[in-house]
């Protein structure tokens, strides 16, 4: 298979500054930022002076056809069709899948048609010339796409039984060449249709398209309809066998026989000169006989080689099989060859008739400006079993390659990225990695969007990416002072360092203000508090407060003690904790046992000794700016310690006595 290389597309930037060189940086998806400049020679400092004081950066995008409003609808609707098809393909295969595939194909074409009509509407309603030109281009592309798709459907997807394609091809023809019908309608409105200059041309067109009813209708308005030649032609037209649904029950050979019989009749009447009096009717008869010259004469009415091909087949060889069609192509091509190079569309249609699927896909990728068509069609063809799924060099198969391209072209759009992700899900080789890469670059403008993106990660078990997103969001919250939200993000991403940081901030708040902010969050930490020691302490400390508030003094006391002895509490906080003990020690009921009191005393000793030692060493070293972590006690703290000592001693004595007393009744 000879490769037809696609010419690289060249875009020219008109910026005189770029004369010194052009550089680029990647944007999101298919986007580049370009600017003039180059790295200077690094040893000699030779920078070319700027041409103008202003240095501009050009933003360039490609494959963004799908981002405008109307194509966007196309994207969304074809997305639905695609997803449904994948599910169906997973559950069924072979002949069970076939009707779904045909339906999907027709649905794709329907949404394409809707998109095209929307564009036509836009073309008519827009006043901007440049924009209108753009829309017209899009309409043309849509029409080309529809033409190619419908032909592919006939040859590859909805292959008729026995391979006889003429019926579908005729339909295809009628769908795409509508001039004949339109003209017929206009002509029939007139008083005397036959006087219309295009009367006969219209009839020929309709004959070439096999629209024999319409032809008979037009002929019936002719003043000469009573004459024998008119009657004769009308009979022939009426009796032409058509391989349609009526013949389904019969075999091909039966039809063939009937058709030959009819053909013989046509030939006979023609040769007998029945139409000699009326050149126009003679032409019709010659068409019916499938005579070569008449087609050449009517070349202009056929407009294109493929129209002529179908018309010829209708009258020369109606039982032609799809696979044999290409034998007849050359003759038609010769009629129309203006230059030796085929038009792009022609080339693709030819490849279709030649059953060269790969060429069709390759050329379509090059000609049509976006990946929508080739991606969806190839997917469909793969499911039809029309594409051999051999691995290509790049690591996967053609279908995946195209789907990746299509999905990538959607990723830079603010909402279509979700559609892109769904498509990537169905790329078994690289889809996941692509998602992992792209998902980290989706801008997280709002919390809502971040949650949406997170949802995407969670559903696909992309833990790393989820974590990274949570970290970004958490940091953002912290920057805006929203500690509570920040903490929930960090908990979600299991970020120990940040969770600790925030817990410390909360604790600091408490020691400053005497109360906690974000109470709900702290109260409902549950097992997440285990993420960081500081956080666990925070949670437990809050629990202590709750117990105290609920007057469950014993539990509160035990908890407080355990916080100290388990070394869960940070050293800075000990003084606060110990101070919290005071009311418990001084309470009417005894709360702390002697053992517990001893432990508390022990803690206090540890704290004071350490501080004394450290401040002593600080004095010795005479380092003025040593870390202030364990500074000497403030006056207030010293007071508290004294109170504490007193309370501890009193409780101890009470405890010893109580414990030592043997209760007697």
């Amino acid at each position: 298979m000879v490769e037809r290389e696609r010419e690289p597309y060249i875009l020219t930037i008109s910026d005189p500054n770029c004369a010194v060189g052009l550089q680029s940086t990647w944007g999101l998806g298919n986007q580049l930022f370009l600017f003039p400049g180059k790295k200077g020679n690094l040893i000699a400092d030779d920078r070319a002076p700027a041409q103008t004081p202003y240095q501009e950066i050009q933003e360039v995008k490609w494959d963004t056809d799908m981002h405008n409003d109307i194509p966007r609808k196309l994207v969304n609707e074809s997305h639905n069709i695609f997803m449904l098809l994948q599910t169906q393909a997973a559950e069924a295969s072979g002949s069970a899948l076939h009707p779904h595939l045909v339906k999907a194909s027709k649905q794709y074409r329907a949404v394409l048609k809707a998109c095209s009509m929307g564009m036509v509407h836009l073309t008519e309603s827009t006043t901007d010339d440049a924009l209108r030109g753009h829309f017209e281009d899009q309409v043309q592309i849509s029409e080309m796409t529809e033409m190619i798709w419908s032909l592919c459907e006939i040859f590859f997807i909805d292959v008729p039984a026995g391979g006889l394609v003429i019926t579908q091809l005729i339909e295809w023809l009628r769908w795409h060449f509508t001039d004949g019908e339109k003209m017929a309608v206009e002509i029939l409105r007139e008083e005397k249709p036959e006087d219309n200059l295009s009367y006969w041309d219209t009839i020929y067109r309709l004959v070439l398209q096999g629209q024999l009813e319409a032809v008979r209708h037009l002929l019936s308005t002719h003043s000469g309809r009573g004459r024998s030649e008119f009657q004769s032609i009308e009979e022939l037209l009426r009796k032409m066998p058509v391989y349609s649904k009526l013949f389904r029950g019969h075999s091909i050979s039966e039809f063939d026989m009937k058709w030959r019989h009819w053909w013989d009749e046509c030939k006979m009447r023609l040769e007998q000169g029945e139409f000699a009096t009326n050149k126009n009717l003679e032409i019709i008869a010659r068409i019916l006989c499938g005579e070569e010259e008449v087609f050449t004469d009517l070349r202009d009415l056929c407009e294109t080689w493929y129209h002529m091909l179908v018309s010829k087949m209708l009258y020369q060889n109606p039982t032609v099989k799809a696979a044999d069609l290409h034998y007849y192509v050359q003759g038609c091509l010769d009629e129309y060859r203006v230059s030796s190079r085929l038009g792009e569309l022609d080339g693709i249609l030819l490849s279709t008739i030649e059953f060269d699927i790969h060429q069709v896909i390759k050329d379509s990728s090059a000609v049509l400006s976006n990946w929508w068509f080739v991606a969806h069609l190839t997917d469909l063809l793969q499911h039809c079993g029309q594409l051999e799924t051999h691995r290509l060099e790049f690591g996967s198969n053609l279908r995946e390659y195209l789907l990746l391209e299509y999905a990538s072209s959607l990723m830079s759009h603010k909402s279509l990225w979700q559609v892109g992700i769904d498509y990537l899900d169905h790329c078994t080789e690289f889809g996941r990695k692509y998602i992992e890469h792209y998902i980290e670059h989706i801008p997280l403008e709002t919390e809502k969007k971040a949650l949406k993106v997170l949802g995407v990660c969670d559903r696909r078990n992309m833990a790393e990416q989820a974590k990274s997103i949570c970290k970004v969001m958490g940091r953002r919250c912290m920057q805006h002072g929203r500690l509570g939200s920040a903490l929930s993000w960090f908990l979600r991403s299991k970020d120990v360092a940040f969770a600790t940081l925030i817990a410390e901030k909360f604790l600091f708040e408490y020691s400053e203000n005497g109360s906690f902010s974000n109470l709900d969050l702290i109260d409902n930490l549950g097992s997440t508090m285990l993420l960081s020691k500081r956080l666990t302490f925070l949670g437990k400390y809050r629990e202590f407060h709750k117990l105290y508030g609920d007057k469950d003094h014993h539990a509160a006391g035990s908890l407080l003690l355990s916080l100290l002895t388990a070394r869960l509490a940070p050293r800075d906080f000990w003084i606060t904790l110990l101070t919290d003990c005071i009311p418990l020690l001084e309470a009417d009921k005894m709360i702390f046992s002697s053992m517990q009191t001893y432990e508390l005393m022990h803690c206090l000793e540890e704290l004071t000794k350490e501080t004394l030692l450290l401040s002593a060493s600080q004095n010795k070293a005479k380092t003025p700016d040593s870390q202030d972590r364990t500074k000497a006690f403030t006056e207030l703290e010293k007071e508290k310690i004294d109170l504490l000592r007193l309370a501890l001693t009193r409780n101890l004595s009470r405890a010893i006595v109580t414990e030592g007393t043997i209760k007697t009744l």
Binding site: L22, Y54, K433, H441, P443
Partner: protein, 313 residues
Amino acid sequence: MVSVINSIDTAHEDMIHDAQLDYYGTKLATCSSDRSIKIFDVKSGQQTLITNLLGHEGPVWQVAWAHPMFGNILASCGYDRKVIIWKESNGTWGKLYEYSNHDSSVNSVCFSSHEFGLNLACGSSDGSISVISSTGDGNWDIKKINNAHTIGCNAVSWAPAVTPNSLMDHSGRPQMVKRLVSGGCDNLVKIYREEDGQWSEEQKLEGHSDWVRDCAWAPSIGLPKSIIASCSQDCRVIIWTNDGTSNNWSSKVLHKFNDVVWHLSWSITGNILAVSGGDNKVSLWKESVEGQWVCISDVNKGQGQVTEGQKTS
């Protein structure tokens, strides 16, 4: 079909040497010979200048964005031998850290994948590469690879976090090994690897016949192979491939251009390579289904006419 969407007037007073878009495509940082670094907000088609960072005493060669999970952090390097890490806090940008331990112009900076933490590699004309790592508590750990390239190092780039041919540790997760690729004035492309806290040269890739100006390690798409692209004053771009089964790298010349190739960069998923050079063109290259590198698009300068939409001084 490629089309110009927008143009951003940077108001730089001298040549722009680098422009980098942040992770989300919302901020564009540019640096110039006029010693300043400008950051623009480029969301939804408008451009507003966010800040103008001054701190370098000579042309600024390159800027690099860190992963947003570390906050809004930008690194820059310049002719004044300095590497500055800038950070945004409470809406204002300021210097976070300044590193001036190079003896000559620092030409290239690159942040590693976030999985390794916050690490910045810097390549300098004094031939060495520094790796500046944040220890998390506001301190920075410096490692230097001396004599990486004789005469000078022009470009550095990090390997993606999960290098395909790394070993799996006992928990089944791949070991994360830090790897760097660098290109220099000795015409070589070298790969360095960190092991037990030390950096050592792992590979020397020979193929260019003149100074290597830029190199970039392609993002990983889960295949066992690794790909590095390098470009040089010998007008060639070479694609180096390691298939993941051994330590051998094979090379393929992507294309021989008409002039020096200055810069190249990979798209997010690594399937397109953008190459820019002295022939005033930026071309995009993609690996086709058959494994051949083909040029898919060319963007080049105009002939100097100014169109209607253009600004004039």
